[in-house]
Structures are given as C-alpha cells and as structure tokens.
Amino acid sequence: MEQRLLAFYQLLKTRGLTPEQEQRILAEIGSGSDHGLLPVAVPAPRLDLYAWNDLAQLQGMGSARSHYTLHVRSLEDLLERDRQREKDGFPRKIRIGRMVRPGRGGKDKVVVVPTTVEEKLIHDRSFQEQQEEGGSAGGAGEGEQGEVIGEQKVREEAGGAPGGAGQGEGGAHDIESSAYDLGRILTEKFELPNLKEKGKKRSLTKISYELTDRNRGFGQVLEKKATLRRILQTNLALGNLPDPTNIDPTKFLIAPSDKVYRILSQEKDYDSQALVFFVRDYSGSMAGKATELVVSQHVLIYSWLLYQYNEQVESRFILHDTEAKEVPDFYSYYNSRVAGGTRVAAAYALVNQLVEKDDLAKDYNIYVFHGTDGDDWDTGSAETVPELTKMLRYVNRVGVTITEHSSPPSRNSEVELTLKRSGLLESRPDLLRLDVMGEDAEEPRLIEGIRTLIS
C-alpha cells in the first residue's frame, strides 16, 4: 500500500507539483491507516454535568428504546401534520432520513428516524467551545499543569464513526422502513422531481418457464430423494417398517401421492430498469463528516431511484483512493474506513470498464453518483476528463457531490476545477451535474443537493 502510494507520488512529482499540493499529498500518505471495516463505535465519555441521572447510575436503566412497529403509523401522521403546517403558514418541522447504519444482511433496509427540534432562544455552547479551542471540562487525578493526558483524531470526531449518523445514547423511536418507502416519502415530501420517460418501453416483467416448483402425484421429473422420504413417512405411519436397522425396500407400500416431481412453472422475471453506480472517495482526507454526508446522500438517492423505477434498480458500489475497487454490498460501501490517497480517474475508469465488459449500456438507464471532498492528486486532469467524457456517452446522469472541508478553509477544490475547466458542465448540462456543499451541511441541504443532481 505504502509502496504503491509512494510510487504514484514520485510519478506526480516528476510531472511537477506546487508545494501546497505536495504537502497535502504527503499528509495523506503519512496518515498510515488502512481500509478496514469500522469497529463498533465506543460511546464517548460523558463530559456534561447534566448527562448523569439516577436511573442510569443507580439502577442501570438506560434510555428507553422502542420497537419500530409501535410507531409505524406515526410517520404517516407526522408527515400529514407537516403538510397541514405548511398550509397554515408555518414552517415544516419534521425531518426524516437521519440514517442509522444499515446492518449486514438486510439489503434494502435503512432506518429512518423522524426527528424534530423544539427551537428556543438559547445560548450557543458550541461558540464557547470554539473560542476556547474545544472548550474545557473537569478532570481529576495526576498530571502536571500543561501535561497532555489524552488525544483524539481530529476529523473522526463525530462519534468516531464516519458513515454512521450515530444515534448515541438518547436514541429511540426508530422506524425501520424499506428504502422504497423512503423514496416515496422523499418524492412526496420534498417534491423531488419525477423521472421523465425516456421513450424506452418499460416492460416490468417477462415470463419464463422453469422447472423449479415441486408437485406431488404428477410432473416432469421425478425427485428421487424427496420421493423416498415421503415413502418412508407413509410406511412408518402404517407400521410397515418393523426393524429400522434392516430395511427391505421391496416391501414398501407406495401411494401415487408419495411421488414428488419437478414441474414446469411460470416465473416472473423482473427487468431491471436502472443501474446506479455509487462511487465514493475513501481516501484519508475524507475522514469524518465528509464521508457521513456523502453516504447519507447516496442512501437518499438510492431510495429515490428505487421508488421511481418501481424497485427495478440495481446498484453497484465502487470505492476509490488511488485505485478503485468494487464492493459487493451497501454495508461494505457504507462502513469502509478511509485511508490512502486520491485519484478520481481510477474510479471513472473502473465504471467505464464495468459497463463495457458487461455491455450494460444496452439494457439499463445508467446513473453514476460520485461523492468526494474534491481532492485529487491528478491535478492536470489529464486522465480524469477523458474518462468522464467517455462515460457521458452512455449515462443518463452523472452527479458529483463535493463536500468541502471547513478546516482548513475550503478552496476551489481540484475536482471542481477540473470539471469547470473541462467545459463539460456547460456542454452537457443534461448529463453532468455538480453540487458543492460545506462539510457541515444538514439534511435540508442534502436534499436540495439531490434535487440539483437529478432534476
């Protein structure tokens, strides 16, 4: 890993780098982490005076958690209430889509937590913290004045779990719903645009005949093992099997209904309509909120497409640092740790390669969504633009989301510059969209971003 990065760095260096770029690249190389799956998040120590309470301290009763089925109805109710609010002239209050990390297994399950906030005029504590470089807390024990007693990584501060909007201890009232429902809610609530028909015929199903069903009594192919099992059952029931250690098959009584066959049957085959490539930069610079935002947005986009295409959506997940790789499921996509350098062209090349190899362009509407912090070691954009141009020949939409870091303050990022310089944004506005948001964007901004990317 290190070797590979260093080699790439040397190559770039011979092409010429500004000192600033060089510094950034070296910082990513030096971070020395790797892409593993994230460990389970450890709750941060309680610094706050009022976070302590008798039930937890004395009786070990944590905050109450409910099962989602208790609240399934309430999401609908809440959204209805919200619509009414708008009619009455008050701002909406319900926010949804705070995602909880999907577990392994449940493929299209996301957890939607409807949330709200009761606004009041209160002092801004975060201000105090910024002012004092992260605020001060109480402590006890040994240590000279000025002595460092512990440290914490800067960008992983958000619960130490990039990618997971951690629920923390206070979490409750989860509503688990399928991504399809989330898509429906997004479309209705946020008035996300519906997709235009592309003129292609939308055949949802095709019917094929397969020898998959079983039938007793008649059929095309005899299932020998299953038949024998049934015969044994019948004979046991009849008492026709006096000695289990010494079985004589010729004495078996065989009823016609004991014969199990495979039978030719109709199978509905769903045609996939859309194929989505989710591409995520998981280089070292993406640590913290940047990743969280990108992944949350990708869940939302996925849900929306799923609804639009009536569940006929296939998705492929691609992670890239200086090299790109495909991962099998959303879980790995969501939970892979960030590390390494950045080369956007690698990811685009992999998408092109996959599409070409499987000849996907013929059968699918193809969407590519790329989330990044805008970093790219390949400053000359010598490789990125050609790959992107190639991609634009077959896709329905490429949406690039850039989450700019707030510290150090954002500049026009490399990817943004590349796209702007290439002129593709102007020449193919129907195919290529770019959305730049700050690292601290919240949910409404995310959804606004989706609108930019897909409308």
Partner: protein, 541 residues
C-alpha cells in the same frame, strides 16, 4: 406501572424511620412504582410526570445535539419526582440491598425537594394532580380547536425557558412581617442613596430623625416624618410616584407579558389560548429549581445513601456489592464532570470544615498558614451546617462559596483543556489549570444558565414588540431564532424584534510553541432580528 410489592414497601418504610432519625425531614407518604422499558418510553418525554399533557412532539425523536439541557431544563430519567406524595421509579428486579441504597438516595432527594428554599414555590400543591387537570383541559380544548392547540403549545414552549423563575421565587420569599411602608423603603434605600447620593453622616442624621418621629408619634410616624422631608426635598413625591409606576409595569417574564398585554390574546375568541400558555408557563416554572440544584441534589443524595446504608443492619453482608455500585456512581472521572462525585465531596468537606469550626470568624482572621492548617476548634457543627446548606443554597451559590483551593488540591482536580496539534492532526487533552479559581470558573460555565431576554416596554409602546437579550459574552443559537420569533409573532399578533449580540470578528493571536493558546480577541456587534409576516430579517442595531 404498578406499585412495588408489599415486601419492598416494608423495606422502604424501614428506610424512612432510619432517615428521619438521622435528621432528614420529608412527608410521610410516598409512592413507589415499578417501571418497564415501555413505561419509560412514555414517561421520559413527559419529564417523568405520568399525568403531563399530551403533545405530538413527545412521540417523535427530538434532535438534541444542540443545547440539550438548555432546551429541556428538567432532569430527565430522574428516579424521583417532586410531587406530593413524591413518586419514584424502580426496576423490577433490583435485589433488596440495592433497593435499600436507592431508597436512601431517593429519600434524601425528597428531603431536598421539600426543604431547599429554591423549591419554595412547589410546596403548596401536588404537581401530578395539577398536571392531570391541565391535561384534561388541553384535551378538551383540542377536541374543540384541533391542531391550533398544538401550535399554541409549540409557541409557548418556544419561550418557556425565559420564565421569570427568580422573580417568582423572590415574591414567595418576601417576608410579610418585615414589610415596612414602601415609601419609607424607597426614601432610605433608593432616594437618599441613588438619587440624592447623600454622605453617610447625613444619612445617619435622617435615620435619627426618623427614630425621633417614631418615638414621638408612634403610628403616625409616616405623616410627621414625610412632612419634614417634603420641606427639604419637595421633589420627593414625584420621584416616588415615578418609581412606583415603573415597578408596577415591570413584566414578570415574556410569557406573562404576552398573557397580560398581547392584543391578539385579549380578543374574546382567543381567550382559550391563555389557559394553554398558563399551563406551559406553570410547568416550566415548576422544573426550574431541579436543573439549578443538580450538583447539590445528587451530592446530598449520595452523601446520605452512603452514610445511612453503612449503618443499616438489615443489609450487612452486602458491603462489597454496595461499594462497587457506590464507587461507580461517585468516583471522580479522569476527564468529565460527575455531579454525584463533586456534590458528595463538597458536602463531606463542608461537614469536616464545620466540625473544626473553620467557618467561624476566628478562623477567617487567622493569617498564619500553619495555624490555619492545624486549626481545630472542635465545634462539631458539621451536621447542622450541611443541613443549613441544603436549605439555603443552589448550585451557583454552592460552587461559588465552597469550591476553594483546599478542595481542588485535596481531590487533585483540574481543568482539562483541549487543543489542536496540527502536526499530528489530533486534539490533545491536557491539564490546563489546577487553580481553584479556574476550576470554579469552569464549573460555573457548565451550570445551566438561560439567556436573559426581556421586553423593552418604551420601545414596544411605539412599535413592534421589542425584546432585548442581555449581553453576556455568548451569542444565541442562530438557527433557532427564526422559528422562535415566528411563534412569538403569532402570540403577540404583530411584528416582533429581538436585539441581541453577534460576533463581528475574531482575532486569534499567534500561539507561542509549547504554551496554551491565548484567548482570542472578539469584537461583538448588536443586531436586531425582526419577524414580520413570518419573514425574518436582520439589521444592525
């Protein structure tokens, strides 16, 4: 929810006897319930009051990252609530010895609720009963007015952290008997000192004059005294009238002001809104003292559960298990603030110091360090002192008075700082200071403190409702201003302005290597937010 078993209740009654013998004072009745996870789900959004009014936000997960405790100034998940009789909640599988410990803890809390003067306004009625009546009222209104009831609750809750708790308290505590004539009070306390700024000798002469009149005329003192006063200060009467008017018109708090003066709420068809707002205001006032006594309350309860548990002969043999739980609750953290630990240690050190007579005048006069160190007058007044402290103090005064260098040194406390190490891109936690002053300051800053926002009456008289946020070196949470003002605008029935301070510029001086960062230089500016027709605008003040 069901009551605890008879067996467990008998244990509780035994605890009550022992606690009373030790000097705690509380009502004879109490209610103990076993709660399940399901019960907690319903109770926690309602601040553990089973009979609190229904509100849809209680069914939704509320975002709390920003200012959790500023938004909800009550202690959630508390085991015992301040009702009459006091209600407490238990896990159904606690072993008996653990219940004994919790019972003592709970009884000390009840003692605190029923004796600490900051709870004075909660003593005269039963919250659970009151809340039930309010809940029925709101349910009835909801059946008539529908969703508008929820809007009113929402808007009233938006400003329920601005209730005038201390004003309410001061009204409660004003002793009736010593109330002299307001005219005399004004003359000696305000007029002579602030308006005329007389010299002390003249002031003493005035007092002597008053005493003469009192001797001579008895009950008619006021007439004869002010007869003489008016000859010297003919302007006195008009000054007095002016101050009285000013005093009368001072609004209790924003909610009270809206109730009394909002043109919208005075309309006949909107009268019902007032009762809803009144419910929200009362409920908020009720919870104010809880969050203001967190350190004391938990410290007091921890002090007593430790003391009484160890003396209780019924549970001997469980000392080790007790020690484990007790240490978990009251140990000082390496980093973090544990109110149980700090409160307990403060009470213990107060008791110890008082036992040695260190709060006496004689000790205070000692200057010699060695004499101070060895001072022990053996007054044995520790118990009496901590009982007095539990009656008269709140967290602020408690921390302000009793956190001193001895305390900080003895428990090796320090303030933790957090700084950025840019070379390694990590936050470093370091020992920032071990001085009592810094530690006290840090505690003060962690204590609940809502913004002081008042109605500016003169400006309101000539335009929109004008609110002023007193500048305390802290800005408000910006995202919340818009929606809160929309709510106030609705309740007021017209435009609303809020004057507050915002950061104009921060200059961060370069840090010298190896030293902690110097505090940044902040320039503030006053701005006015205005909400008109539910649109928010901002202009410089």
């Amino acid at each position: 929810m069901e009551l605890i078993s008879q067996h467990t209740k008998a244990i509780m009654e035994g605890c009550k006897e022992r606690a009373r013998a030790a000097g705690l004072r509380f009502d004879a009745e109490s209610l103990e319930y076993v709660v399940t996870n399901r019960d907690l789900l319903e109770l926690t959004p309602k601040a553990m009051i089973p009979t609190l009014y229904d509100y849809w936000v209680h069914d939704v997960e509320v975002l709390r990252e920003k200012g959790r405790y500023e938004l909800y100034p009550n202690n959630p998940y508390e085991t015992v609530i301040n009702t009459r009789p006091a209600i407490s909640f238990y896990n159904d599988n606690n072993p008996d010895w653990l219940n004994v410990m919790i019972f003592y803890h709970v009884l000390a809390h009840i003692d605190f609720f029923q004796n600490n003067l900051y709870f004075r306004h909660t003593w005269d009625f039963d919250l659970a009963g009151q809340a039930l009546a309010d809940k029925r009222l709101i349910a009835r209104l909801r059946s008539e007015k529908g969703r508008w009831v929820d809007y009113i609750i929402e808007f009233a809750r938006g400003i329920d952290n601005l209730v005038g708790y201390h004003r309410e308290l001061s009204r409660q505590h004003r002793p009736q008997a010593t109330q002299a004539s307001p005219r005399i009070d004004y003359y000696f306390d305000v007029f002579l000192q602030s308006e005329r700024k007389v010299r002390p000798s003249e002031y003493m002469k005035e007092i002597a004059l008053y005493n003469d009149c009192l001797k001579r005329d008895g009950k008619d003192v006021e007439r004869s005294f002010f007869g003489e006063v008016l000859s010297r200060y003919p302007e006195f009467e008009s000054f007095y009238e002016k101050s009285r008017q000013q005093h009368d018109s001072e609004p209790g708090d924003l909610l009270q002001f809206l109730l009394d003066h909002s043109p919208m709420l005075q309309r006949d068809e909107n009268k019902w809104m007032k009762s809803v707002i009144e419910v929200v205001r009362k409920t908020s006032l009720y919870f104010q003292p809880q969050i203001r006594t967190k350190i004391m309350n938990e410290g007091w309860a921890s002090y007593w559960h430790e003391k009484l548990f160890m003396q209780d002969e019924r549970i001997s043999g469980h000392e080790v298990e007790f020690a484990r739980i007790h240490a978990g609750v009251t140990s000082l953290q390496r980093v973090g603030l544990n109110p149980y630990a700090i409160g307990l240690r403060l009470f213990q050190s107060i008791e110890e110091a008082a036992n040695k007579g260190r709060y006496d005048e004689r000790f205070r006069r000692l200057l010699n360090a060695r004499d101070r160190q060895d001072y022990d007058a053996a007054t044995n007044s520790g118990q009496a002192t901590i009982f007095r402290v539990r009656e008269d103090y709140c967290d602020f005064t408690f921390v302000n008075e009793f956190v001193d260098q001895d305390f900080v040194d003895r428990h090796r406390l320090f303030v933790v700082g957090k700084r950025l190490n840019e070379a390694r891109m990590v936050w470093e936690y370091y020992v920032k200071s071990r001085s009592a002053e810094a530690y006290q300051q840090m505690l003060m800053e962690s204590i609940y403190h809502p913004p002081a926002i008042t109605v500016d009456r003169p400006r309101t008289a000539s335009g929109p409702l004008y609110l002023t946020h007193r500048f305390e070196q802290r800005p408000l949470v910006k995202e919340f201003i818009g929606n809160t003002l929309i709510g106030i605008e609705y309740l007021w029935g017209g435009s609303v302005r809020l004057e507050t301070s915002e950061v104009a510029q921060i200059n961060r001086p370069e840090a010298k290597p190896g030293q902690s960062d110097p505090s940044p230089d902040i320039t503030w500016r006053r701005v006015v937010y205005e909400s008109t027709q539910r649109k928010l605008t901002k202009v410089p003040a």
